[in-house]
Every structure is written in C-alpha cells, then in structure tokens.
Symmetry: C2
Subunit: 382 residues, 2 copies
Amino acid sequence: MTFNLVKTDGAARRGRLVTPHGIVETPAFMPVGTRGTVRSLGPDDLAAAGSQIVLANTYHLFMRPGAAVVRELGGLHRFMAWPGPILTDSGGFQVWSLSKLAVVDDEGVRFRSPVDGSLHALTPEISIDVQHALGADVIHPLDEFLAHPATREDIERSLERTLRWARRSQVAHARGPGGQALFGIVQGGAYADVRARAARETVALGFDGYAIGGMAVGEPKPIMYELTATVASLLPAGQPRYLMGVGKPEDLVESVARGIDLFDCVLPTRNARNGQCFTWDGALTIKQARYERDPAPLDAECGCYACRHFSRAYLRHLYMADELLAYRLLSLHNVSFFHGLMTAMRAAVDAGAFAPFRARFFARYAVSSEFVSREHISSAEA
Amino acid sequence: MTFNLVKTDGAARRGRLVTPHGIVETPAFMPVGTRGTVRSLGPDDLAAAGSQIVLANTYHLFMRPGAAVVRELGGLHRFMAWPGPILTDSGGFQVWSLSKLAVVDDEGVRFRSPVDGSLHALTPEISIDVQHALGADVIHPLDEFLAHPATREDIERSLERTLRWARRSQVAHARGPGGQALFGIVQGGAYADVRARAARETVALGFDGYAIGGMAVGEPKPIMYELTATVASLLPAGQPRYLMGVGKPEDLVESVARGIDLFDCVLPTRNARNGQCFTWDGALTIKQARYERDPAPLDAECGCYACRHFSRAYLRHLYMADELLAYRLLSLHNVSFFHGLMTAMRAAVDAGAFAPFRARFFARYAVSSEFVSREHISSAEA
C-alpha cells in the first residue's frame, strides 16, 4: 500500500491511497459492511453509489461465518464479491459494545458469541490471524476501548495495554501473507495530553497509517473536534489518517478541515432504515405526511438511482408499507450522498478552496441537534 | 392491446401481446408487485431478471396509498418506475382472503381496511374506477370467489353474480379513458360443467382476454390441470389466456401444455424470503448446513446477477444473518429462473418440440411433494 499526499489546503488534505485492490481518492468515506455486506446494498449498488472502499467488521465475521469459511471461499473480496479495497477493524470495539460477558485482561478478551453463546477469545494475535484470513487491504491491531467518561488513570492504564497489544500485533502481522497494510490505532480517551502521548507512541511503533479510535462515543462534539485536530497534527503527513466511526455530514466536513483522510460510519445505512435521508439542505424524514403526494426526488441535486427514478411519495409509500425496496433505495441514496459530499470536499481541496466550501456547506446544511453517539449506533446496527 | 397467436404445438401456444407499454412474448410469467413493488426487487432488478410484465394488486393499492395518490403521481407505471406493461387484478380475491370482516351482496363487498380499520366498499364500478386511476395495461372485473370446497349450488349462484358483475364492469369500463384492456374472469369452482358454462358465458360477454380464477386454492392438482384444459379449450384461440395465481414450475409447464399464455404467482419472491431457491434440478433450501462452504452458484446454468457473483456459501451466510441483501439476491434468482423457464418453453413451442421439452423437464426437475395452495400463499404475502 502506498499513500500520496496530492495537495493540502490549510489542514485539509487531498490524497491517493493505492491498495492491491484499487485506488482510493481521499478524503473518502467507507460504508460499513458489518457482516460482509453493506446492509440492504449489493456490490452493484455500492459501485453505482461511488464507493471506493468498504469496511467489514472482523468481530462479526469471526462469529459468523468464521474466518476459516471466508478463507476457504477465497477471502473476503471474493466472498462478498466486492473487487475493490476493503478495510477491517480489529474487533475490539464490537467485543466491548456487543458482548455483555466480555472479560478483558492483558492476554486479550474472552467473551460469549451473541450468535450461539459459545465461548471465544480474541487476542492481538487471533485478531491479526483472522484479518489475515479475511484478507482485507487495510487491517488493524486489537485495541482496548473504555466507555466515556473514564478516569485519567483508567485511560492511561488502558493506553499502555493498547500499545503493548499494538507491538504484539506487529509481530503477528510480520508472520502474515503480506500485501495487507496495518494501521495503528490512537486511543487516549477525552484527555488531550493522553491523546498526544498516544499519537507519539503509536507513531514511534511505525505503522502504514493511523486510525483515531474511541471518538464519537459520547464526548461533547467540540471536544471531539479538538482532540481530532490535536492527534492529526502529531501524525506523519505522508501517511493516511482514519477517524473511526465518524460520522454525520457536519462531522466529516469538520474533520477533513482538521486533516482526516478516511471515515466510516453506519449512519447512512442505519438511518436509511429508520427513514432518514440526507440532502444538501439537511436530513429529511420520509415517513412524514408532508411527503405523501410529493412528486420530487429525495434530493433534486442527486444523481443516484433512487433520485433519478422515484418520487418522495413513492419512497414514502414503500417505507410506510415496510417494503424491503425502501431500505435499499434510501440506503443507496444516503451512501451516494456521503460519497458526493466527499467528492465535493476533494474538489474543494484540489481547488484550494476548502474554507469557502466549508462556509457554504454550513450556510445551507441544517445540522440536526440530535447527537449520535458511536455506542448507540453500534448497538442498533448489531 | 392486440394479441397475435404466433404458433401452436399441440395445445401449447406461442403468442405476442402488444400493449401500450410494450410487448409481452407469451407464454409469460408475471412477478407479483403487490403494493406497486415486487418485494425486495427494484425495476432495475426486474429488467435484469427478464420481466416483461408485472402484476400489481388493486386491493393493496386501493388501501394504501389510495388510487387518488397514484393517479396524482402520474399513474402506476410512473409511480413505481416500471415503464413496461402492468396488469392489475380486481381486488376481489384479496378482499376475500385478507379482510375478515368482508360482507358480500349483489352490490359488491364491504370490508374493513387491514391498514387502519376504516370501512370501505368495493363494487364492480369502484374496482374499475380504481383500475382506471392506476392505469395498468390489462385490468379485471370484480369477481366473487368461494373457498374450496364449495357446494355446486353455491358455486352456481356465485357464478351468476360474477357474470352480473362482469357486465357492470364492462359498462363502467366503457366510461374509462381507453387504452386499457379488460379481461373476463372464468370462475366455476371445481365442477367441470360449471367451469364450461362459465367459460361460454364469459366469452359471450366479449372481453379482450380471459383469466381463469379460483384455481390452485386447495383442489387436487390433477383436477386443477383438468379444469384448466377444459376451460382453455372453450376460450377463443385468438385471445390471451391467463391462469391467475399459478404457480410452481411444474404447474407452469403443465398449464402451458394445456394452452395457457399468462401466469402470476408470489412463489418465486415469497419462497426466496423463506430461503427456497429454484433450479432446473428442483428447489433447494439455502439455510441447510450442506451449503455452508459450497463455492458453487445457486444454479450453474443461471446467468442472473446472484449466480454470476455469489456462492451458495455467501448467500447462506446472508440468509442466516438475516441480511436484507439475501432477500434481494434470492428473489432475483428465483424470478430469473421462472422467466428462464418460460423462455425455454417459448423456444420449445417455436421449435415444435414442446412435448420433448416437457419430458426432459420432468425427467430432471424434482417436483416437491408440498402442495402450495393459493390461499396459503396469499395470506403469507399479505
């Protein structure tokens, strides 16, 4: 994997990530294919929506159908018929958020499968082995995650463990088949100085790129933005930066402004299933009675399949009747919107005009007051 | 609408139905788009699967979103973004099967909406008015349907009512916008002589085509085939014949052999949602453990999107994980299979080789012993 920093505009960056399965123009948004499928969308839909790279959850695939099955079927790209780049997380966050019986010690995590109640262990070595079997282009070391708020003492102790696990993951990764990039994960909770130390020590270990983990988990949004800026400023300019689990459209804009290259979030697909559709004016809720006879598309500026063919009235009808096509069409639109937003940001950085883009975006986009925490999203998605 | 009988081979027929929205090569299968959407499939999927004409249920669209909304949004073709031919039924069968509180008299049916409990009436005139608003290429008169088994006396009394309603429907249709074909519906229960009288009297009224209703509702399959042959033999050769709500692949073959041109059934989509997939060897149940590591496509001879890209192992994984993509891919495959079966039958009739085709089909296709009644299907679909 190589990363070329093409252009900067303030802290905003325009880059190009070259992976064994294709190129990712950054900043980029990754739709979340939790179980090896972006919920309700096929690979044909993802390609049409403009997806360049897809995230899959190691934890979910580890539980079902299992790493051995995916390896036997030719790896995750072939299994899910997505020929482009794939990124997997380490599974740590999901163990924490989905397995009520998780027991963490220095070795790793023991937990019960929510699928069948069976007992499992996830260690740094097992996580890397599973991710080798899955074969994603970008993989991650197991990290420890503490719920917000946590004490400084707990966060510092947890950071030490995450760093030890990072070193063990590097050793395990060195035994792998090669061709997969390993990103380090910067933790540190809501303490700026711990975040800074986490960034420096993770960078000192040396990874192919850097993820910022444990964000958007309930901390106030100004603090999330500030921590993002702090960490990003300490990461090497020539390597990609990935803000895990973020976020809402306004978060993407604010985080690109602070130097982030990659994002993932279940928001466009999960909210589609709840009837929320994103537009350049803000989000709309398709189930509202005002759309019953509305002949307009979801977003007149959107070129997605849903907007080219269907009225809000029809989409509302499908949604109210609980028709499965509603979930596909609304998800397709939302993912297209998120990619369109990233495309617009890339063009703005290319043109050296990110600041006016950002101003125009916020002048028009109605930011929802609802704060979406990562914790809430992940529970709902599982 | 015009119908050209292109070729016959025994009782099997090759025809071409020319409608205002396109041509239907017959014999043809119509997927069921109950609420203005074939469950889990988009118009893009239907086109890719080879659908020529889609059925929509007047009853469901009458209940939600209502005829006025569909008309205001430009009619059903535009509403559901299906530019090809559409056929609507009269709503009579669904009132009977879905509205527990239905009260039938000579005027029509009064019933409560399962959506919101509101009171509605469906008369021959209202059904035609609603179908005019929807704007399908082929529409149907309200008919009365009696559950099987019914006494000869009840069936004969019911037939008289259906014939009276057919005449009222013709009068109502004459006031319509034009451009829509009206098919007559032949009822008559499981009594061959009543069916024959129903066929003769319906033909005497003069319609653009003829539907055979009240079949596959629990009567033994040999009787259904025999009644189909009896009725078909009494219908005009130069007009299309539609066997409503049928059926399984073997029923399609047996009914084409008896002179039927058009079919509809929820089977390919409903059974897909239950994990049943059709192949030339018979049906398979994707949830079986034997498919857990099976790298083969559902059907090696199928060229559908699901079979071109995904293994049985992946489709099983999606199905077991309750992923929405499973329903789309399995439905897409099943509808493609049904259309492929019709394509093969058309080619066989074209080649004057329907009998050997039929023999080869049954030599290979494992007919399931499960008898699928229309009644059961319709309840499940609703």
